[in-house]
């Protein structure tokens, strides 16, 4: 049923992306990763389709960074970026896809 | 049955109406109330409500065991629309009823509500209770000094798709 096939694609994609850092991440790595995630999430905002999970990943990233755990902070920021990018993709895809579901 | 009842003010003659008006024969005799246990007089049964399990609550409240009886008609939903508001009611054809209680086995404390039924008051009560999770719900009726009960399982879970 189309309801399930599509909704599984996105969460699965997000889980796939838990990157494992090779060497210890620095604060600079965190800043770039966080900036990328934040930018993608802002774009999702302009498309009026941000996800609550992106917001919480960003929050976790900042919390980890504040605690000095930059490995975790970068990983969380990367996940936030992936989620934000997926939400942007969803918003763009839906610009046309919604018409197919309208009751005729 | 009128599905959309929009007359707000006038009292409703709906299917539940019948529960309230169960006529009870033979109320003439004045029951001897042995004030042995808290349920008989009006003091708030503190420890019964503090009891965790159903058995302890019944012991604290009545001090005697209850036996299942088909004369106790317990009305409870199969799946509660929401654990916060579960409409439960009980009625009975038993006579000389002095107390009615509702217990939810798996709630943090089993005794939910207990009602003193003076002479002249019908042995039927409707109320809305809270249930933590799927659990057996028991109604107990004290009639002529003996305890009768009926039990039903009510499924309870949260709603919505998770958020």
């Amino acid at each position: 049923m189309k309801l399930f096939s599509r909704s599984l694609a996105l969460p699965l994609a997000a889980i796939l992306l838990a990157a494992t850092p090779a060497l210890a991440a620095s604060e600079a790595d965190f800043k770039t990763a966080y900036a990328a995630a934040d930018a993608a999430n802002k774009e999702a905002g302009t498309l009026r389709d941000q996800w609550t999970t992106t917001a919480s990943a960003l929050k976790d990233a900042k919390k980890a960074a504040d605690a000095g755990d930059f490995d975790k902070a970068v990983a969380e920021a990367k996940e936030a970026e992936a989620l934000a990018k997926a939400s942007v993709f969803q918003a763009k895809a839906e610009k046309e896809a919604w018409k197919a579901e309208v009751i005729r | 049955m009128n599905m959309t009842d929009t007359r707000f003010s006038t009292p409703r003659r709906l299917i539940l109406q019948g529960i309230g008006a169960v006529a009870l024969v033979g109320l003439g005799n004045i029951p001897f109330v042995s004030a042995a246990f808290a349920a008989a007089n009006d003091k708030y049964p503190e420890d019964a409500f503090k009891a965790k399990t159903e058995a302890d609550a019944i012991k604290a409240l009545y001090g005697k065991p209850a036996e299942a009886s088909d004369k106790v008609k317990l009305d409870a939903p199969e799946i509660a629309e929401n654990g916060a508001v579960v409409p439960i009611s009980v009625t009975t054809t038993l006579t000389d009823v002095t107390s009615i209680s509702f217990l939810v086995a798996d709630n943090p404390s089993a005794l939910a509500a207990s009602y003193v039924i003076p002479a002249g008051t019908m042995p039927s009560v409707a109320n809305r209770i809270k249930m933590a999770k799927t659990s057996k719900v028991t109604a107990i009726i004290e009639a002529g000094g003996k305890l009768y009960s009926a039990t039903k399982e009510v499924k309870v879970t949260v709603g919505g798709c998770g958020g």
Binding site: - | A21, Y44, P108, V116, I117, V125, A126, R128, I129
Partner: protein, 103 residues
């Protein structure tokens, strides 16, 4: 302040049906608030119903009675126009009373 007790008492023949809805949070003490702290238990413990000075119903409630609690019962011996006195007390000692006429 309007009473916290809403009552509908109607007599048909010699049987009076009583419905009461009481405005009260009925906090069980098991629920956490948004910040994660436990909301302290605050619930009505006893509601008494008297008609012409005689007790017709007493409700003892625990922590499992719904918010804005509702109860319905019937009794014999009440007539149209009689007074029905209802009062509740909660575990913090707060209380409220109202008197309704049987319709």
């Amino acid at each position: 302040m309007a009473s916290t007790i809403r009552v509908r008492a109607s007599a048909t023949g010699d049987t009076t049906e009583v419905q009461a809805l009481i405005q009260h949070p009925m906090d069980s003490g098991y629920v956490k608030d948004a910040k994660g702290d436990l909301i302290p238990a605050h619930f009505i413990q006893q509601v008494t119903f008297e008609c012409n000075g005689k007790s017709v119903f007493v409700a003892d409630w625990g922590t499992a009675v719904s918010k804005d609690p509702y109860v319905k019962f019937s009794f014999k011996g009440g007539n149209k126009g009689d007074d029905l006195k209802i009062s509740w007390v909660d575990n913090k000692g707060a209380s409220d009373t109202t008197t309704a006429k049987i319709a």
